[in-house]
């Protein structure tokens, strides 16, 4: 696919990185700043055009007439929308715009329809959705859903005293019952797609595949709290905080937002009547303690400064036992942060890039293959893909134990018309099933790609 990325900020950068790793895409980036473009083309195998994206000549230089997809990710919503409109009119390509102003949010569908956009993405709202999902299920670090919500991949950390520690994966279903499949383990810097002999150790990050009901059962059995939080303290009242508070209030969670700027507090007060808005410096520990940090069930650090968020979360960790979520904008230091044991860290730019990536995959697939959903798991080291199986597929109607899969590849789940089957050796995959596959091999396009 020929893809043009407009705006090389953090999202554009991440997209260029991820998309250029997939061999079948030809990427061109556009940015106003010469240095930014130069850095990107030196780093990745892509082409760069320096210029304004509202200038049709720039779009032509980037090859708009042959493009299949344009992603507008500049800092300005209006520019993104208009660039997409221009691209659609001249090149007839699919377009994705990043639109973050909450005031436009109510009109997004009209934009989408009348400007012919394939997708509108709001990074703050997407991040808020992710945080809200985690606060509803505080014992896990990451949740990815498949099969229209019927199957989830949940990632959690194995505590030292956990009953899962030092247990062979093959013995797990005997011990805890239920149909839970371990599809991935991260230990230190390594990621494994384990077989039955693998022994889980404390400190591992384990990803499991199961239906939402079973996951609750499973976590009860391994004595991890599963109930959602009742209240939360948010430090920093930006757009993400607004979207998050709105979502949480709608599900009945009490929200307290600590924001420094009095004007912003007034505005938040108007927009979120049922939240309690505190006008104070959230980075002062006295303020936090006064607002009941030690008794809160969750804490979300959403200021605009990464370092502040990290420090706040580390402080909160010493004072409370509940769920802690930290927002970090800068992606490059994620490995350092992993070592800090910060509970859940949210990278909004990463999430945005992942959403777009998923869309691109799906788009590309509609040009020839059959992926329904795709998530990056195990810290981006592996992919979980949901395939729809065709009539003539080589894997259909063959018992799983006879399939010769590539190494580090596992069939994690079969969805037969809404019925979730945890696969065993004697099971077969039938046409029209959707199958969730976990693999470290990148860029699978068809279910047959997982065979040797």
């Amino acid at each position: 696919m020929n893809i043009i990325i407009v705006g090389c900020g953090k999202v554009g950068h991440k997209l260029a990185e991820k998309l250029s790793q997939e061999k079948e895409h030809n990427i061109t980036v556009i940015d106003l700043k010469y240095n930014v473009v130069q850095d990107l083309i030196n780093e990745y195998d892509i082409m760069g055009v320096c210029g304004s994206c509202s200038d049709i000549d720039t779009l032509n230089d980037a090859g708009i007439e042959n493009a299949d997809l344009l992603i507008a990710a500049t800092g300005a919503d209006e520019l993104n929308l208009l660039t997409c409109f221009m691209a659609k009119k001249t090149g007839g390509c699919q377009t994705i715009a990043r639109v973050r102003n909450p005031e436009y949010a109510k009109w997004l569908n009209v934009f989408k329809e009348d400007l012919g956009l394939a997708m509108i993405i709001n990074p703050e709202d997407t991040a808020a959705r992710e945080i809200a999902r985690i606060l509803r299920f505080p014992s896990v670090i990451k949740i990815d859903t498949f099969a229209k919500g019927r199957v989830e991949i949940l990632k959690f950390k194995v505590a030292p005293e956990s009953p899962v520690a030092d247990i062979k994966i093959a013995d797990m279903s005997n011990k805890f019952g239920g149909e839970v499949l371990v599809c991935g383990v991260e230990r230190g810097e390594n990621a494994y797609i384990p077989n039955g002999d693998f022994i889980i150790k404390s400190g591992d990050f384990v990803s499991i595949v199961c239906s939402p009901e079973e996951s609750v059962e499973f976590f009860k059995k391994i004595s991890v709290k599963t109930n959602r939080v009742k209240d939360t303290i948010i430090v920093g009242g930006g757009a993400t905080a607004y979207y998050l508070a709105k979502r949480l209030i709608a599900t009945g969670i009490r929200v307290k937002i600590i924001e420094q700027n009095p004007m912003r507090c007034d505005k938040l007060c108007e927009m979120l009547p049922s939240a309690s808005i505190i006008n104070a410096d959230g980075t002062e520990n006295r303020v936090l303690l006064e607002e009941g940090l030690s008794k809160a069930e969750s804490f979300v650090a959403l200021t605009n400064i990464d370092e502040e968020n990290v420090l706040l979360s580390l402080f909160a960790k010493t004072k409370m036992t509940g769920k802690i979520v930290t927002k970090v904008n800068r992606i490059a230091y994620d490995e350092v942060l992993d070592g800090l044991d910060l509970d859940t860290v949210i990278y909004p730019k990463n999430i945005t890039a992942d959403y777009i990536l998923r869309f691109v995959r799906a788009k590309h697939n509609s040009m020839g293959s059959n992926i329904e959903t795709m998530h990056l798991i195990l810290d981006g080291k592996a992919e979980a893909l949901e395939f729809r199986v065709q009539e003539n597929s080589p894997i259909a109607n063959v018992p799983l134990e006879q399939l010769k899969l590539k190494d580090n590849t596992r069939i994690a789940c079969i969805n037969r018309g809404g019925k979730i089957i945890t696969p065993h050796g004697k099971d077969t995959i039938e046409p029209k099933d959707t199958v969730i596959v976990v693999t470290t091999h990148r860029g699978s396009k068809d279910i047959s790609d997982i065979l040797i």
Partner: protein, 478 residues
């Protein structure tokens, strides 16, 4: 510095060279010359050494700017040393320094020779000599990038260090596809020329060797008389193709895509063709009294202008006996060189344009200190970093130029000879004036001067900085 990736790439360069040596081997077989064994030995040396270097698997394939520069500079040195082996082993050029000079002259598409009698060389050696032009014209690392699945986007550093011009850009988003497109266009254009020369009555051997010499804008011929012994038709075909190979290759890609309008938008190509046209007119007027007919005069002047501005360095006439104005004009053209992104050498038309435009900009600013001006190319402002790079390039060029002249003047040759010898090697042209004129050669120089001139040829082909980075301690420090 990532030594492993450097050695690994050098290994691949040697393997490619071994593959390239198969062609002269075939040539030796075809003419049943007694040098089959020579080439087999060379192929085995390059091949085995290359294999050994590529054997160790490197996990860390990251390549940054300094690795890119170092690989390119080292590759060209290694390639030249091993490329000289056939001449030494066969005894065609027994002196090792002479053989390296000849090979560097080939790979850098200079065409300067130390041979007194070209025709005395066996055909397979002549073929290898000309074929080095073809390899060096587009660059061996561009070829490597095209055929090898080297990792990541960092390969751009290799192409950047090897390709001429102030700012190197890709034709398509993928560096590998870009390299492939370049090589395909290059090969096809070369073959078209060979076919046209064959149609003009040359044998296959001469058509191929002359086409290689034109394609790389090199200048090695196979006759002592250069190109003057061939028919006017052959000379005209070569003239046209020399001019074509001096054009930025991305222009041909645009033509292939049918974007004719953007071809005419290229200021550099317009300026290049303009310079060629006016130079031909001026030289024609100046040398008119020397020849009988107008058409003959135009043919000689067009050939020589094309040969020198594209830095090919073929000759149909001894321009050393032309009037002083023509000689001076031709030497000036040697400095200008061809378009960036072509196979030609020299300073490059686009650099000269940026240079001249910044001079005008400074003049305007001198008279109106508060006014703002931007240097533009093709209607786009030129980034400051590009202008800076152009200025620094000119400075480095002049420094190397002056030092080289100083050193080779120790041999006691006259000033014109020294001056044009450095012009001819640093700009990858071939012949100069006086004792290194079109009918002369470089054999008069001492071994030390030959080494200096060899360095000049490499520095000129790689646009100076890769060679300087190679010798700078800061690149090698951990």
């Amino acid at each position: 510095m990532n030594y492993k990736v450097i050695l690994n790439t050098l290994g691949w360069v040697l393997i490619v060279e071994a593959a390239a040596l198969v062609l002269p081997l075939i040539c030796a077989l075809a003419f049943s010359e007694p040098y089959v064994l020579t080439f087999v030995i060379c192929i085995l040396i390059c091949g085995i050494l290359g294999m050994l270097l590529t054997l160790p698997k490197t996990k860390d394939k990251t390549m940054f700017s300094k690795e890119g520069f170092t690989i390119v500079a080292l590759s060209w040195i290694v390639m030249s040393i091993f490329g000289a082996l056939p001449f030494v082993i066969s005894g065609a050029i027994p002196n090792f320094i002479d053989a390296v000079f000849e090979t560097v002259s080939g790979f850098t598409t200079t065409g300067a020779s130390i041979l007194q009698d070209v025709e005395a060389l066996p055909k397979c050696m002549l073929f290898w000599r000309s074929f080095t032009h073809f390899i060096g014209g587009m660059g061996v690392l561009v070829f490597l990038v095209a055929i090898l699945p080297l990792s990541g986007g960092n390969n751009l550093y290799l192409i950047k260090a090897e390709s001429p011009g102030p700012s190197v850009s890709k034709l398509v988003p993928k560096v590998r596809t870009t390299a492939k497109i370049l090589y395909i266009m290059y090969t096809i254009l070369t073959l078209i020329e060979a076919v046209l020369l064959y149609a003009g009555g040359l044998d296959i051997f001469s058509s191929l060797t002359l086409s290689f010499g034109t394609a790389g804008t090199g200048g090695f011929g196979v006759l002592n008389s250069g190109i003057s012994g061939y028919s006017p038709y052959i000379q005209n075909v070569i003239t046209v193709f020399m001019i074509l190979f001096g054009v930025d290759f991305s222009i041909y890609y645009l033509i292939l895509l049918g974007k004719i309008r953007s071809v005419f938008r290229s200021e550099e190509v317009r300026a290049y063709l303009g310079i060629v046209f006016f130079a031909i007119v001026l030289v024609t007027v100046n040398i008119r009294p020397l020849y009988n007919t107008i058409s003959e005069t135009v043919r000689y002047s067009a050939f020589q202008v094309a040969a020198l501005i594209t830095t090919t360095g073929y000759s149909t006439a001894d321009f050393d006996v032309w009037p002083e104005f023509s000689k001076t004009l031709l030497v000036t053209l040697m400095f200008v060189g061809a378009c960036a992104g072509s196979t030609g050498g020299g300073i490059k038309v686009s650099r000269i344009m940026i240079f001249v435009k910044s001079i005008f900009k400074e003049i305007k600013i001198a008279s109106h200190p508060k006014s703002t001006h931007k240097v533009t190319m093709n209607g786009r402002p030129v980034e400051h970093t590009v202008i800076r790079a152009v200025n620094v390039y000119m400075a480095a060029y002049i420094v190397i130029y002056v030092i080289s002249i100083l050193i080779i003047s120790l041999d006691g040759m006259d000033y014109t000879t020294n001056f044009t010898a450095v012009v001819a090697t640093l700009n990858n042209i071939g012949p100069g004036l006086a004792k290194v004129g079109p009918t002369q050669n470089f054999s008069l120089f001492s071994a030390f001067s030959k080494i200096i001139l060899t360095f000049d040829m490499l520095a000129g082909r790689l646009e100076i900085f890769p060679m300087l980075v190679l010798f700078s301690p800061s690149a090698w420090r951990k």
